[in-house]
Subunit: 345 residues, 2 copies
DNA sequence: TTGTAGGCGTTATCAC
DNA sequence: GTGATAACGCCTACAA
């Protein structure tokens, strides 16, 4: 448990000043004689020298860390996003602090503070809080921020959004294209913009087709746990079925909820898609593993993470390239949980 | 983008020395007059003071960060572990750097180095590398290490293991208890101790019952992607079915692979569990969402994360309590993918 | 109760 | 090419 070796120790061994050692070991462009350079590098290697990044960061007021705040890593959508972020970060020798806000605004704020205290200069966030003051204050003091998934209005905050509204529209149109007239939309609490957008897309398609919207929303607080979403899907489905005019197709606001819908239907002996069609939203990998494989709207999660991190790296490097936001487009993943409406069969 | 305010700035405003400010703002036990204390706190608040943890850490050679290295966050087992870790860490005002080794030993080593460079003093790791030299060297220089899931032999490294062997034994015995005689074990590459242990448990139960083991192992390299594991499950199943003596029950080395097994069987018109029973391993939440709900062996993932982090916090605080390793016990989660063998029906 | 001064490990600015 | 030296923001003997 001996004290770790520093550039001063190496300087002493090499018989030079620590300045020279620093110049060699930090790959500075400063001129150092080839012989000296080699000697120092050898000593560093032999003595298992490990630089203390704290010293460097304190001095240079920079950091090779970025922060990521997302609702929960247990959601496969976000874990894909993170994998995308981490891959790009690593290429730039950055590492990532992941924070799960667990859908708790207070926790999100706590994490924001931690990130600032640790001198992190870049942040990618899917914010669930409605109070963006702290975030904006951070931007004012130099923090580079990319908002993904959930839009954050504000000067200096770049957006990588997903076109939820169009996704909702697309899914509904797909169902309509299969002849469905009575299409229900089941959703967890619409407390976040993304969910409201999907609903707006659904409404638009429904209105355009001159159909009547059927929406059931969970009254329960969101806890971001997949088993929980699954249960909501089941509950909302049984609620839907107890009406005297049940739908021929159900559109769920995310894939896990769609799993719940399918599960409930199957347990009641209602066949999917022969009796009722089901469409999800997100495009997580598990969708292809269930029976029937889930038709859904795919969000490019992994790519979103990569884009966000690339954009952040540019900002951190002070790139003066063009400034732009990104609106990712939805894609329909047609599998087997949707079929033609009975009238057409 | 003005320079952030420091304790010196506050000292100047308050008309005291920075030492006094430090004593107040770091909640030191050092005596400071109540009036002064309050004044300093007010100034700090009014000026939105945010401490620079780098300075503190550099001075005290401590850090409020722990590192976590796991194969991949896209595996729900590990994302649960991380959620458990993060919860405890937060209680102690620690934060977490998550690193996905993606089943790549070189990457794991790279992350280990980064962690040391950043003066992180505590690490929780599910190591996939066979070369533990760097890890041990880190322990020698003071790093506190908890190995979870995958055992790491070595002085000073605490273990929180899962009894994979017993889990494998339990699953096999459960199948036997339902009258199954020809039980196949399908597994991805047995390159990690955990998988070999499950297999040993399977073998033990098989031998004890005087039955013949049937094992198919994937020849393909592991890529830690759930879609991939799913495909392996499908492939190995079709391989199994092409033999002239197919099994009446299939035991998969993890739940996602079991999904693949069930999917392949279902696609071929073989009913689960009526024709062939299937049992998984891990107990991820998605297991209850498929049809039929998957019978499996549950690993206490979230709890494992909590225990690991609690243990690490104790070590970091220099606790001199008893030193111990933990062996978590498996639990059978009986759902609907296993039924009695045909002979018994 | 408060202040002074030195140092944590590194880099940057001057000199030489 | 190389070396002193002064920061970076904070904590902590020690002194007052």
């Amino acid at each position: 448990m001996k004290k770790p070796i520093t550039i001063h120790d190496i300087a002493k061994i090499a018989g030079v000043s620590s300045a020279t050692v620093s110049r060699v070991l930090s790959n500075s462009t400063y001129p150092v004689s080839a012989a000296m350079k080699e000697k120092i590098q050898r000593i560093a290697k032999d003595s298992n020298y490990i630089p203390n990044l704290l010293g460097k960061q304190l001095k240079t007021n920079s950091s090779m860390t970025i922060g990521v705040i997302i609702p929960s890593i247990s959601n496969p959508f976000y874990s894909s996003v993170i994998l995308g972020i981490e891959g790009i970060a690593r290429q730039h020798n950055f590492h990532v602090i992941v924070c799960n806000s667990l859908h708790d605004a207070a926790l999100e704020e706590e994490y924001l503070k931690t990130i600032v205290e640790n001198q992190v200069k870049g942040l990618i966030i899917s914010s669930i809080s409605t109070d963006k003051r702290l975030l904006k204050q951070m931007v004012d003091t130099g923090m580079k921020v990319i908002a993904i998934d959930q839009k954050v209005e504000g000067e200096g905050i770049r957006q990588i959004e997903f076109d939820y509204r169009k996704g909702g529209y697309l899914a509904t149109r797909h169902l309509q294209g299969k002849g469905h007239k009575r299409i229900a939309y089941v959703t967890s609490q619409m407390d976040r913009p993304s969910r409201r957008s999907i609903y707006r897309g659904y409404l638009k398609a429904t209105e355009e087709a001159g159909l009547e919207p059927v929406m059931v929303e969970s009254a329960e607080e969101d806890v971001y746990n997949s088993a929980y979403e699954f249960d909501i899907g089941k509950k909302l489905t049984s609620q839907l079925l107890s009406s005297n005019d049940p739908p021929s197709a159900i559109f769920a606001c995310n894939d896990v909820m769609a799993f719940g819908v399918i599960n409930e239907l199957t347990e009641r002996g209602i066949q999917v898609p022969q009796d009722i069609s089901v469409i999800g939203f997100d495009g997580i990998e598990y969708g292809q593993m269930i029976q029937p494989p889930l038709t859904t709207v795919k969000q490019p999660d992994y790519e979103m993470g990569k884009m966000a991190c690339n954009m952040l790296m540019d900002m951190l490097k002070g790139g003066d390239g063009p400034v732009f936001d990104i609106m990712l487009q939805p894609k329909l993943l047609e599998r087997s949980s949707v079929t033609n409406a009975k009238e057409l069969l």
